[in-house]
């Protein structure tokens, strides 16, 4: 079954068409990468999939596990098992990370009609996942993302992915701002979460993340359209020959 099915998607932001007809299908169990230069519409694609206000779908549709998402609010999409790891995770002063995780986890469970988990159980769950990502207790006690380093923020995003166990994860420029050690740590975290009933969409500018998270398919995004698709080696080709040449070919 296809986890995500994007069909002729057109998106307008501030009166300007950014995505101009994207068609894409990701089956369960696969990892797809969307690569593109600055201004190609990568961020617009991830925000649109997550349902951010201001990203207006003017044509086409997004099917998630067969269901049309277009009218759903961001929190409804999250509760249905979609997860977006942001390029720039947001700082929320005063909101303790652990409390945030518990609030989000329970909001999703509540929306799905599942029983909520208490603070103690949340802590236990979080601890299990956190160790692998080298996230310490102190980090969980600090306000969300406030004063976190780039690597800490990204690891926390992956921790959330592990905690929420989404069916579809969208990783938006997860490699940006990471040194090689941090990148490996994050990639390992992602790879651990690869599963037959889970799909992932990795959105990135550079190839380097894809040597750690090897995708099943690579799509090249340029000026709001997918101009080329291929296997994992397409990423390498892009790195060597540049976007312009590959897109023109």
């Amino acid at each position: 079954m296809s986890m995500l099915e994007i069909d002729d998607l057109h998106v307008v932001v501030d009166g300007k068409e950014i995505l101009k007809g994207i068609t894409l299908s990701i089956p369960a169990g696969e990892v797809h990468a969307v690569m593109g230069p600055n201004g190609s519409g990568k961020a617009t694609l991830s925000y649109t999939l997550a349902g951010r206000a201001g990203y207006e779908v003017t044509r086409g549709r997004i099917l998630y596990r067969g269901e049309d998402l277009t009218a759903l609010k961001p929190e409804e999409r999250a509760a249905k098992g979609m997860f977006l790891a942001l390029q720039y995770p947001v700082e929320i002063p005063g909101v303790v990370t652990l409390n945030f995780l518990k609030t989000a986890l329970n909001a999703q469970r509540r929306a799905r009609g599942e029983p909520e988990v208490d603070a103690l159980r949340t802590l236990k769950l979080v601890r299990e996942k956190a160790t692998a990502l080298k996230i310490g207790e102190d980090m969980l006690k600090r306000p969300l993302n406030a004063g976190f380093s780039g690597g800490e923020k990204k690891r926390l995003e992956i921790l959330q992915m592990a905690l929420f166990e989404p069916k579809l994860a969208i990783l938006d420029e997860t490699d940006s701002g990471l040194d090689i050690d941090a990148l490996k740590l994050v990639a390992d975290g992602v790879n651990m979460l690869r599963a037959p009933d889970r799909a992932m969409l990795v959105i990135t500018h550079y190839q380097r993340l894809l040597s750690h998270i090897v995708p099943d398919r690579v799509h090249v995004l340029a000026k709001g359209r997918i101009v080329k698709s291929g296997g994992a080696d397409l990423a390498l080709e892009l790195e060597q020959r540049g976007y312009e040449q590959v897109a023109a070919a």
Binding site: A50, P74, E75, L86, V90, V95
Partner: protein, 485 residues
């Protein structure tokens, strides 16, 4: 936007039950005749079996009050208050003979407090919290008195203190907030009917939280309570007050006076969760809350800390202040003021540095939503003798929606070159990025707003006693329901 419409509808659905303290207890009341005159003052004094000196004190206040005019400088607008069209004393008839024990209290009153989440039976109470319950004009119950008496702490209705501890009352009453301090304090001095008296003797650390729960029940009635807390040398007490009132179309006046005195090395921590009925979403009804609260750090090295969570009332006019008289004294003010719909709050503090090495800290978080107006007004004043005085003030405002206002009016005066005063203020809105981040993690909009606002208030919430911090956090969320569209 679809989301907006749904949120609005959902809010409309729950608006009816939003203020869950809005019920009325049907109970037979005894009232003073309507209106305000010397006779009213005499009536109240007689009801309380007060000594002659107390009556004279009240009458003097009343005479002075008649010469005074209502202050107009605050940023609050309200129709003129008709002081003759209200009752100044209302007490449950069943309370005529004050019950000796909890078993004798009118079950209707017990039921009321139970509904408010304040069960008065000691077994059911939060362990470690003693409660004085004030119902309209009278105290109806005080718990854990015996346990407190063991360590010498006096915790009783002030009407009782006037009879039983006249020397203490005479020595301190009106010494922090003078009878003629301001229009509302003077009115209170004339007609105050009950309130709480606390005396913590030398060197005693009060073994439990003390708290007073104020309930306005009767219609067309003002509540004028008076609280006096004295912490003798080296003692410590933590005190908390909570307030609720029924939903009514009329505006009811609440004009309280609170006086705190700390002697050498004593500390008082005073917390308030004010949730008087705020009026409906069109601004109809609600409590007019004009309150004078002041602490006097009289003894060297003493400390007074005010924490307030102000979510209720149609009008809030309130400036809990510290007079840092003794050397090495410390004053603190931590405040959250939330206004929604048509609420107006003008609140803040005064830190008066008189002694050497005095320190004060102010953290104010104002949140304004709907069509509300929220003002922080504060004074930090350093007198010439206050060598090495220090103040730090952080004053942040959050606006939710484009029809509300948030205002900051700080007065900063330094007359000592060794003093150091710092003040910072910001005004902003909840950022779209923060909101989206929460939504994308599956947290619904209203919950996300509550979460972000609670984070914004964290520095203040942390100051509350643990038992009440959780309640206060919930209150923050409830107060803002319907504010985001």
């Amino acid at each position: 936007m679809v989301a907006v419409k749904e949120t609005t509808e959902r809010v409309a659905d729950i608006a009816g039950e939003k203020y869950k303290y809005g019920f009325v207890t049907d109970i037979e009341m005894e009232r003073a005749p309507k209106g305000l005159s010397e006779d009213t003052v005499r009536y109240i004094s007689a009801k309380k079996n007060e000594p002659e000196w107390m009556l004279e004190w009240r009458l003097e206040a009343f005479r002075r009050w008649q010469q005074m005019t209502e202050p107009k400088w605050a940023r609050v607008h309200y129709p003129p208050i008709d002081y003759q069209n209200a009752y100044y004393y209302a007490a449950p008839k069943s309370n005529a003979e004050r019950p000796k024990s909890l078993d004798e209290i009118d079950p209707k009153i017990l039921e009321t407090y139970k509904k408010l989440g304040i069960p008065l039976s000691e077994q059911m109470l939060l362990a470690g919290v003693a409660v004085d319950a004030v119902f309209d004009s009278v105290s109806v119950a005080t718990t854990f008195k015996a346990k407190l008496t063991e360590v010498g702490v006096i915790f009783c209705p002030i009407s009782e203190a006037i009879r039983d501890y006249p020397d203490l009352v005479k020595k301190y009453l009106g010494t922090v907030v003078p009878v003629t301090d301001n229009f509302f304090a003077t009115l209170n001095s004339a007609v105050f009917s009950d309130g709480t008296f606390v005396y913590v003797p030398k060197g005693v650390r009060c073994p439990m939280e003390l708290s007073t729960y104020f309930r306005i029940n009767a219609s067309e009635t003002g509540q004028f309570e008076r609280t006096l807390i004295i912490a003798d040398e080296g003692s410590f007490v933590s005190y908390l007050e909570g307030c609720t009132a029924p939903k009514r179309d009329e505006n009811q006046l609440h004009a309280a006076v609170v006086e705190l005195v700390t002697l050498e090395k004593a500390e008082i921590k005073y917390s308030t969760v004010q949730n008087w009925y705020p009026g409906d979403e069109n601004g109809l009804g609600g409590i007019f809350n004009f309150v004078t609260k002041r602490g006097d750090c009289r003894g060297r090295g003493s400390k007074i800390s005010w924490t307030q969570v102000e979510t209720g009332s149609a009008i809030t006019w309130k400036y809990p202040s510290c007079i840092l008289r003794g050397d090495d004294t410390v004053g603190e003010f931590y405040s959250i003021a939330i206004t929604n719909n048509y609420q107006q709050a003008d609140t803040g503090t005064k830190m008066i540095h008189l002694g050497k090495n005095t320190r004060s800290r102010i953290v104010s978080k104002g949140i304004s939503a709907g069509r509300a107006q929220n003002t922080y007004r504060g004074l930090v004043s350093v007198h010439p003798r206050a060598d090495n005085a220090r103040n730090h003030t952080q004053c942040d405002s959050l606006l939710i929606g484009s029809h509300c206002g948030a205002h900051t009016v700080p007065y900063i005066e330094s007359r000592n070159p060794s003093a150091k005063l710092e003040h910072e203020a910001t005004t902003s809105k909840i950022s779209d990025d923060q909101l989206f981040y929460c939504l994308a993690r599956g947290i619904p909009q209203e919950e996300a707003v509550a979460l972000i606002v609670n984070g914004f208030c964290r520095d203040v919430l942390q100051q509350l006693p643990m038992e009440f911090a959780v309640e206060a956090q919930k209150l923050v969320g409830i107060s803002l329901e319907g504010s985001v569209g």
